[in-house]
Amino acid sequence: MRELVTMVVVLTVLSAFSGGLLSGLRDATAARIEVQQLKFVKGPAIKSILKGVSNDPIADRFVLKDGDIERKFFVGKFDGKANTIVLESFGKGYGGDIGLMIGINMEDDKIVGASVTTHSETPGLGATAKDDPGFVSQFKGLSINETFKVTNDGGKVNAMSGATITSRALCAAGSGAGTIYQKLKPQLAEKIKEFNE
């Protein structure tokens, strides 16, 4: 019996110790990991949207609460003035969620650029959305207040051949971004102001 108790105790203490160690390390590295994730996962997309920014959009980010969900926003400064905001939204694609990073000029609500972040679409078909910027570049210059639809569904966006579902998902993601943007616009404007001060 005594042996059993020792067994349980050693196992428990070791587990607890390990849990403590790991959570400590987790806390210590959490901030850095987040930066790294943003830098390498979202970074390339943000950079392609905000070509020629004068600040580091990943460093200049903030979080707003949209109901229960926390959303990240990245700020882009052009000519020293913070006027562009980048946010990510998701659409349901063929192989799961597709992330679309979309940049909006706060002054005229126009889309300055869009880029696909994550996807798990079929290689060679839907997956081209990420490698080939042709499709998402159609968003550029459109107003964020529109609802995006592919031409088949009566909208303006030309679908990628052979990847209608992916195209639809991206349109849905774009529209979703618009919804979020409109909903949080007042708070966003507040935040942007802070960056300009």
């Binding site: 390990s18 849990g19 790991l22 959570s23 987790r26």
Partner: protein
Amino acid sequence: MGYMEILIGGIFVNNILLAQFLGNCPFLGTSKKMETAVGMAMAVVFVLVLAGVITWVLYAFFLVPFKLVYLRTIAFILVIASLVQFVEMFLKKSIPALYAGLGIFLPLITTNCAVFGACILNIDKELNFMKTLVQSTAYAVGFGLALILFAGVRERIILARVPKPLQDTSIGLVTAGILSLTFYAFKGMI
């Protein structure tokens, strides 16, 4: 994704041994004899399905709500190891006939990457409970299929004249490569 796709994808397209490279140590170790291979395959099916389900429950009801997702590696391995040992003891006592068949293979599974890897993959794919069950079954059956096929091939290789340096594990690996290549043919299925 439908259940059928998950099933076929798990067994053939993303075969855990030949496409995902998980569980290779016992793959080479226990494939020398058909008898051993069958026992191992059965044991993996049994444990993988059970482990898949339990880790899903652990993940969905404990790790996520308490924001402890980063602890999943350590939590899963602990649970799998305990599970395997528990099942072994249980079978030995309660169902000796079954234990004689697969009991001896159970300890081998504690550190089998296939079981652990499949659980991690399930979680990464964010499958729901039923899909986890199907996916785990698919992976396990795929493992068994590959192992048994491979054992069959290896029993034949013994009869071939293989150059000395290439014998045993070496030719085994090359054969596994060719087997893996044949599984490539399933890529178009989904």
